[in-house]
């Protein structure tokens, strides 16, 4: 098991945002976490990356407890996150954004290989290497954010709402890219609002509602479940 989360609880002040969440991500799979907005899905990802300390529970990555790890150490261990809203460094060039993704890596040759790989995945970035990231469109920024995370050579990629605010056409493209990345053997934990799309590409899915998991199972099973259909897939 690449990632195991057991009984994770997170509090903001006195309010408990996450109330005992457990989930597993197996190596090489794409696991999705779906649910309505504001349910706290992103909070879980933040906690996995070490940005929000959990109040209770444990997180294991490759068998190691992550308790008290700094974000940098978690990134170094091979967990990369694409944050919500395509947060690229607007004043840095595209090339510099990609370099920032490989900030902690010392293996120059492999970084170079990953660089080529990213540019292959996203040819649009290749054209704009020296352009400031802030001047690009929303879709291009999302691609840059993906590319930046891939530059870390991650074992586990955390995607936080990658389709948020994009046009249907771009959403389609983004999911194609997600599948392609998965095809290269990168394990992915996808947090998504667009449940239908997510379930289409995922192996396994968790349905999340106000702080806890309400359904879990293989993605196709959930897709067929009447209850899930009604609540999350719009009929």
């Amino acid at each position: 098991m690449l990632l195991e989360v057991r009984n994770l609880r997170i509090r903001y002040g006195k309010v408990e945002a996450i109330r005992g969440v457990s989930l597993d991500v197996e190596e090489g799979t794409l696991v999705t976490l779906i649910g309505a907005n504001g349910a706290g899905k992103s909070t879980i990802l933040k906690s996995l990356s070490g940005l929000v300390p959990p109040f209770a529970g444990e997180i294991r990555f490759q068998g190691q407890m992550l308790a008290g790890w700094k974000p940098a150490r978690i990134v170094k261990a091979g967990m990369a996150q694409v944050p919500e809203g395509a947060r690229v460094f607007a004043k840095l060039t595209v090339a510099e954004n990609l370099q920032a993704g490989a900030y902690l890596r010392k293996d120059k040759e492999k970084v170079a290989l990953d660089y080529q790989r990213v540019l292959r995945h996203f040819p649009i970035l290749k054209e704009r290497l020296n352009q400031k990231a802030g001047t690009m469109s929303g879709g291009e920024r999302q691609m840059l954010a993906f590319g930046r995370a891939l530059m870390n050579g991650p074992k586990l990629l955390l995607l936080d709402e990658p389709s948020l605010g994009l046009s249907p056409l771009l959403v389609h493209e983004i999911f194609k890219i997600i599948e392609a990345i998965k095809g290269e053997g990168v394990t992915i934990l996808l947090v998504e609002q667009n449940a239908r799309k997510a379930l289409e590409v995922a192996d396994k899915a968790y349905v999340f509602e106000t702080g806890r998991i309400v359904f879990e199972g293989p993605a196709h099973e959930l897709m067929d479940s009447e209850e899930v259909k009604k609540a999350y897939l719009g009929g």
Binding site: N7, N37, G38, A56
Partner: protein, 350 residues
């Protein structure tokens, strides 16, 4: 795009605050009555002076805080205090006005300058606004220094007459020959200022700025022209500060450009931050405590700045909510211990 739900917690807090406010209004009233009785007991000119200085500094600091509350990092309070002092002194000494006319006039002049400066600059954020207001203050200082006529140059203006005597026939003559007279004038000025600012904070004004600070775009979305409110707040606060400046000039009989340097604003900002920005009473507590600290430390000759700054650092580090948060913090320490016990229990995996 995120939907904001009304937070029941916050509503409760709001109601609680309302009640607390009514209560604190009573406290304030009691305090003012007590302060009014002070000169009957206290004969020492020194203590009266400390209190008088405290009163006009409270005026400076509360008006300063209000501008800070509108989201502007003001760094030029000294400019408007200076305008108030110089304008009123010149009106009295050159134009022969009565102090009682000159003081409000000085406030109006400062408010006019505030509008003049405020319109182009109040839309600027953070440090840029700070640099412009600071620069404005120092430009004025430059003008006072360079123009011996009528500002007196670097040596300033001396032999400023005190306020004109007031005679209530058959009852009493207040001729400002004693500190007590100044004491009551300063106290009255402070109470009036505190009342005006309190009303402003409670009015639409305060609510709008409160909303803006909370990051709520609602105020802007509703289409209220915030600029007008900001300029108005800036002008009113600067005018009130200037009136205190006018009082200062006629109380000390001497002003010079040195008195209105950026150091004054820095002190006001420190009073505000140290007292706690969130509550109206915070800045008052900050002013009173830090001025008292200054008086206490004054006895330690050249170590006093060292002690004062050490005191300042300690408060900023250990009381992020300011001095006003101290009682709340202390009461919470007790209740938190109980809470911790409970948490431990719930934390148990079994």
């Amino acid at each position: 795009m995120t939907r904001v739900r009304p937070d029941p917690d916050r509503q409760g807090k709001f109601l609680g605050e309302m009640k607390a406010q009514q209560k604190s209004r009573l406290y304030f009233l009691g305090l003012f009555v007590l302060l009014g009785l002070v000169p009957l007991v206290l004969r020492s000119e020194y203590y009266l002076h400390v209190l008088i200085a405290m009163f006009y500094h409270v005026i400076y600091a509360t008006t300063y805080r209000f501008i800070l509350r509108t989201g502007q990092f003001h760094f030029g309070a000294h400019a408007f205090v200076g305008i108030g002092a110089y304008a009123s002194v010149l009106l009295v000494m050159r134009a022969g006005w009565s102090f009682w006319l000159a003081m409000p006039a000085a406030g109006l002049i400062a408010a006019f300058f505030a509008v003049l400066i405020g319109y182009p600059t109040l839309r600027l954020k953070g440090i840029y606004f700070a640099i412009i207001t600071w620069g404005f203050g120092d430009t004025l200082r430059f003008i006072y220094m360079r123009f011996k006529e009528p500002f007196g140059g670097p040596l300033g203006i001396f032999a400023i007459p005190g306020p004109n005597p007031i005679t209530i026939p058959g009852l009493i003559t207040i001729d400002f020959s004693q500190k007590t007279h100044f004491y009551f004038l300063a106290l009255a000025l402070m109470i009036v200022t505190l009342y005006i600012l309190h009303r402003m904070e409670q009015s639409r004004f305060g609510l709008i700025f409160g909303a803006i600070r909370e990051g709520d775009r609602l105020a802007r979305a509703v289409g209220i022209n915030i600029m007008n409110y900001k300029v108005l707040a800036f002008a009113v606060c600067s005018g009130l500060g200037a009136m205190a400046g006018s009082f200062y000039a006629h109380y000390t009989y001497y002003i010079s450009p040195l008195d209105f340097s950026v150091l004054l604003t820095i002190y006001l900002a420190i009073y505000t931050v140290v007292g706690g920005q969130e509550r109206y009473a915070g800045v008052i507590v900050g002013t009173v405590v830090l001025m008292l600290a200054g008086e206490v430390f004054a006895g330690y000759s050249h170590y006093q700045l060292l002690m004062y700054s050490g005191f300042l650092i300690v408060i900023l580090l250990f009381l992020p909510g300011g001095l006003i948060s101290l009682p709340g913090l202390l009461t919470r320490v007790g209740s938190r211990a109980e809470e911790k016990e409970g948490e431990k229990f719930r934390n148990d995996p079994a």
